[in-house]
Symmetry: C2
Subunit: 338 residues, 2 copies
Amino acid sequence: MRIILDGMGGDNAPAAVVEGAVLASKETNHEIHIIGQQEQIEEELKKYKYDADKISVIDAREVITNDEAPVRAVRSKKDSSIVRGLNMVRSGEGDVFVSAGSTGALLAGGLFILGRIQGIDRPALACIYPIVGGIPSLLVDAGANSECKPNNLLEFGIMGNIYMEKVLNRPEPKVGLVNIGAEAAKGSTLTKAAYDLLEHSDMNFIGNVEARDVPMGVCDVIVTDGFTGNVVLKLTEGLAWNILQNIKKKFTDGAKAKLGAALLLDKMNELKKEFDYSEYGGAPILGVKGPVVKMHGSSNANAVKNTILKAIPYASENVVGIIQNSVLEIEEITLSEY
Amino acid sequence: MRIILDGMGGDNAPAAVVEGAVLASKETNHEIHIIGQQEQIEEELKKYKYDADKISVIDAREVITNDEAPVRAVRSKKDSSIVRGLNMVRSGEGDVFVSAGSTGALLAGGLFILGRIQGIDRPALACIYPIVGGIPSLLVDAGANSECKPNNLLEFGIMGNIYMEKVLNRPEPKVGLVNIGAEAAKGSTLTKAAYDLLEHSDMNFIGNVEARDVPMGVCDVIVTDGFTGNVVLKLTEGLAWNILQNIKKKFTDGAKAKLGAALLLDKMNELKKEFDYSEYGGAPILGVKGPVVKMHGSSNANAVKNTILKAIPYASENVVGIIQNSVLEIEEITLSEY
């Protein structure tokens, strides 16, 4: 398998990306091709001992930044690491594309270059959602589609379900719909109609999930529109950060507190680690015709390594093909009913 | 002033409600009329020494529960504490109605019995939003309207702004719009249009606020549709609870941790207290023609007391009238532009 890694994406590129590639190459035999400005990437590579059969560099001169309008950037920067990388996946020269670059550019590029999977109306960003004291859930859509129709939410559920089973190895994941009440009749026009579609699917749909229960890990796949999903993800980040910061402040206020905090240092580090989801790999862009994984912009080498390793089953388990078949099956059933 | 207090609403009624009324009566000279099943309320009142000039009981035989369909309950239970209490506000026998009962019934009752303020399209529930390490914000709408139009969000901003100034005593509050990006052009059709309306208002509008910044208290009035607002409020409750529970678990795991936790007990209690917003009063139903305040269903006596005390400026500062004038002014300006 050939993993195409964006050497220019993210706050710590190319250093963290290259280091992550070297770390990953020690744990897999698949080829890693780092795409981007060759001299910069080679400069970084020189710092490490690595197997040259497993890591190579592909030169691409342009860089798409986070500040650029995604659609225009993807259309104009043909020699950027993102556009070139996605083209390699389309042509079969690469099996999966991994990038810490602009989410917008990856989404736009995924749509223009790879195209949508037949039967999928709107591709979505699926993000790992941390559960303190538990295993993480998967949140779909985490922000690609701020306006959704009921069938979009059904598709998010189907895609998240398959990714959870095949890549995150959780059989028969519990699929829940974010809503403002537990009963089927609660919520907006969108959630009521989506509930109906999800209930009639063959997934393990557990019904509506109130936002209060999401952090307890009541479901494995959290289905919601991209606006709500983005709010859920970012509020969780912000609130957890604020609570931990305030704990830190309180725990260093006074000699007695400092002593107590010293005794609890390892416990606090454990807690902080539970919010660190870099071990679970990046966020797949589900619904495009080829495996694309977005990493957090601030990914460190360890996060890059884990994203590369999780990208392997995403490609090898043929998640894209399974999604396509699942959606076609549903379409056939729906058509046969009329 | 005559404060009408629902004796039958909430998980701890009538005990907590009656105790809260007695506590409040020691801090105010206004009359408190507890409405509900007389014998039950008097039974509770017997437990306390109180000034009979300040507290009285009004008999109402029916009770509306949380499980009932709100509209039907309000229409059929004419002798319930909620319907009778709201009728007293409408007729002028009461100046404000305070209840820990069904939110749905209070909203439906507020609309049917008191009616909408002229110019307000959709009344909203405004909830205190706790800020760890800071002063709380006000979230409007916290769940009354799961589907909104741009003008609804403008009205939520106007009403929250006035309540914050007049009742919570924060001059020129910062008003922010929950969105999935900081720039004006980001977000859904709804938030883009609402941004435009809010920007052209004469409020201290600080623009879009990402969910990640909401827990830091970047704005005083958090404007959002009721679906998102409910998700924000409940996710905050759930996540904070989960983090604190996990801290507790970790801090009692092993002798060293237990010793550390003992030294930090007062700091942990401080932290827990920052999530306790019972001191800030209940959630006003803004936009109906009369002051109505909803308390949390699990309110204890202290929360009841504080809600009663905060209900006084809500009525005496004529918040309802000010909202009406503000909205009419905006309508006039808008009309004069065409």
